[in-house]
Amino acid sequence: MSVTPVLEMKNITKEFPGVKALDNVSLQIFAGEVMALLGENGAGKSTLMKILSGVYTKDSGEIYYKNIPLNVKDPKDAQNKGIAIIHQELNLVPELTVGENIYLGREPVNIYGRIKYREMYDQSAKYLEMLGEGRMSPSAKVSSLSVGQAQIVEIAKALSMDARVIIMDEPTDSLTDVETENLYQVIRELKQQGKALVYISHKLSEVFDICDRATVLRDGTFVDMKPVGELTEESIIQLMVGRPLYERYPKSKGECGEKVFEVSGLTNHKITDVSFSVRRGEVLGIAGLMGSGRSEVAKSIFGAMALTKGTVTIDGEEIKISHPSSAIAKGISYVSEDRKQLGLILDMSVKENITLPALKTFQKFFRFISVDEEIKTSEHYIEKMSIKTTGPMQKVVNLSGGNQQKVAIGKGLVTSPKVVILDEPTRGVDVGAKKEIYDLINELKENGLAIILISSEMPEVMGMSDRIIVMSAGCVAGEVSRADATQEKIMTLAMKNLTKSAV
């Protein structure tokens, strides 16, 4: 283990209008090591890394590379100086191919300035192979990929830069365990090669799997830096939150009631013959690999995707859903996995986002929308989910990722639904907030809602669900109860259809 850091950020301060995102923060990164960067949502992790990669400029502080002052002007400059970053939010050009995205800004050209496509695609294939995605074609358009696959492309892109410092901001956010394991493999290799890595994650187990040291931030300030060996999950949480947290997956004592929601034979070009039912006060988990069609099931139920066959029944009554608005009217709500594209209207305020699906209920005389009631309602959700915001009027775009996620969930509840579909509800959410969301799920359960929980985080599905169905290649591969659920059982089911037909 080297003692002097390759790269050091000292006393970095950054202020946004109304928020001091970073206050005198320092960070050291070592060659051949992975530095975990930890902290609650909005602690300033991404901001710090965006400064290092030239996206933001710092207000004050210094950066040193091997003790030499380093000045990063813009993203291109950061690349030239050997700093690569995988951003928290996907940053790909959907209309370009996988290979073009990986090499965007660094295309290999011949002496006439002509792009060498062959070389570009061959190289891209190599990096995809390394990440266990050898099946993905480098000439496929990124718009045809699922979120998880796109994330792999982002990782491949960072790898292809052959940088000395690689920053990964929640890289496994939308990956399942298989891909995560592949990523670990790659990270180990990079360590071998003497690269320095920064790893941001809210999945604490990953810190112990792959990181060597951890730096913890809280509210934009530096808290501590320690070798991972000296840490436990509890002590990390203690550092992050400032108090201990018990029970990662709180068990609810609620009893399941009668069947309220049932789908049968749902079929379209993405899913085949999907049937299941949910009871009042039940959490039905849906597990599966990336691209297994879980989100498609949710969207099909919600009227956002056309069905060729199948029925949806709520309270024993078969209903016709042609548009999300009719789903909402029938008491179904859906919290999308992609809060940025599908969940939120970023330029609108927290208040306007939360009340949007239920605006009808805020109408008073002359169809006048009552702002007072809107504020009251949104403050209720802000408080209930501890959304870190300056108030209901703050624009969602200025919230940290985790807090945006909470707003998206609030939006799903405001219509007082009977059935809630949560698609990756804790994606990008810190441990504390996760706990709050789990508590919320339990509260909903006790209130008699039927909940469908789609999640790629195995412990989460297993910890929170009463029953789990597993999807594989667009079909329901099987069902396991909470008591029987083990990681192996679920994985076996998830892989079931893959051997028969390649996805």
């Binding site: 209008p17 548009h323 999300p324 209207i345 330029d347 109408q363």
Partner: protein, 312 residues
């Protein structure tokens, strides 16, 4: 709630620009500030302002409407024809306003159901309707005639209520209603939401297609109102009326701080923008600036205004 001065400044920057412009002009030419001239400017602005009010709805959803000038022309021609044919003022107004609305609805349908880009759908609308107007009028102006109905009709463009020109009243009414709808109703909120993120709006249960058709209908309606004001001001409808008005209306909307990407802006800003353009036209005439230099002056002022607005 605490007042956010920065936010307030951003909000009223177009207004600030308007005030600065007015002060400079009145220093150069004191006649500018006479009551008569101010009413004059307001009356002249009314046509562009009314169109721009409808355009604001469209642009807020992230669309654009290039057909406003042609809708104005055909509505004007139809209304002049009907007045001249003694169809009665009420029937004429109703028919004309309906026509404008329906034409807007058709554009909206082409855009939502036909999935044609708004720029193209309304560009085609602009060409088609101009052709239709020329066919309808045979390329010649249609006079409203000289009877009582024509006089009553002329009131909408030339009359006064308490010393204030009727078109100015109409403009205020259009903006008052637009403000209320955008600010305080569900529909208004949806307009902003669609401009902000169409897909997320759909998933929040917003009937995106309906709202979009409605905004083009509104734009068609305001164009028809403008067509009535214009035809009534002249007691005659020109087949070439309204050519190029789309650019003035869009300029007013953008000068008012509304983003062409949609989602952000106010109808109040649009009114300010329309007034800036109206004042500019008036002032250049008052100062007798030669027509070649007028274009340069107008371009420069708009550029400065927009640049000021973009500065952080």
């Amino acid at each position: 709630m605490k007042i956010d001065f920065k936010e307030l400044l951003v909000r009223f920057r177009p207004l600030l620009g308007l005030i600065i412009l007015a002060v400079i002009i009145s220093l150069i030419n004191p006649r500018f500030l006479s009551v008569n001239n101010i009413l004059n400017v307001l009356r002249q602005t009314s046509i562009n302002a009314v169109i721009a009010a409808g355009m604001t709805f469209v642009i807020l959803t992230g669309g654009i409407d290039l057909s406003v000038g042609s809708i104005l022309a055909i509505c004007g021609a139809v209304s002049a024809f009907m007045i001249a044919a003694d169809a009665g003022v009420a029937v004429t107004l109703f028919t004309t306003l309906s026509l404008g609305t329906i034409l807007g609805v058709l554009a909206g349908i082409a855009i939502t159901k036909g999935k044609v880009q708004p720029f193209i759908a309304t560009l085609v609308g602009m060409t088609l309707l101009r052709g239709a107007t020329l066919v309808f009028t045979d390329g010649k102006p249609i006079s409203t005639g000289y009877d009582t109905a024509a006089d009553i009709y002329a009131w909408f463009g030339t009359g006064y209520i308490f010393g204030i020109p009727v078109p100015v009243f109409l403009m205020i009414a259009v903006f008052g209603i637009s403000y209320y709808v955008l600010k305080h109703t569900r529909f208004g909120r949806y307009v902003y939401a669609i401009g902000g993120n169409e897909e997320a709006s759909r998933l929040s249960g917003v009937r995106v297609s309906r709202v979009k058709i409605a905004v083009y209908a509104i734009s068609g309606l305001t164009s028809a109102v403008a067509g009535i004001i214009l035809t009534s001001r002249l007691s005659s409808a020109q087949p070439t009326a309204g050519a190029g008005y789309e650019l003035d209306a869009i300029a007013a909307v953008v000068l008012g701080g509304t983003s062409l990407a949609g989602g952000v802006g106010t109808v109040f800003g649009t009114l300010t923008g329309a007034l800036i353009i109206g004042i500019l036209n008036n002032a250049l005439n008052l100062m007798n600036v030669s027509s070649y230099y007028q274009m340069i002056a107008k371009g420069s002022v708009i550029l400065i205004a927009v640049l000021m607005d973009r500065k952080k």
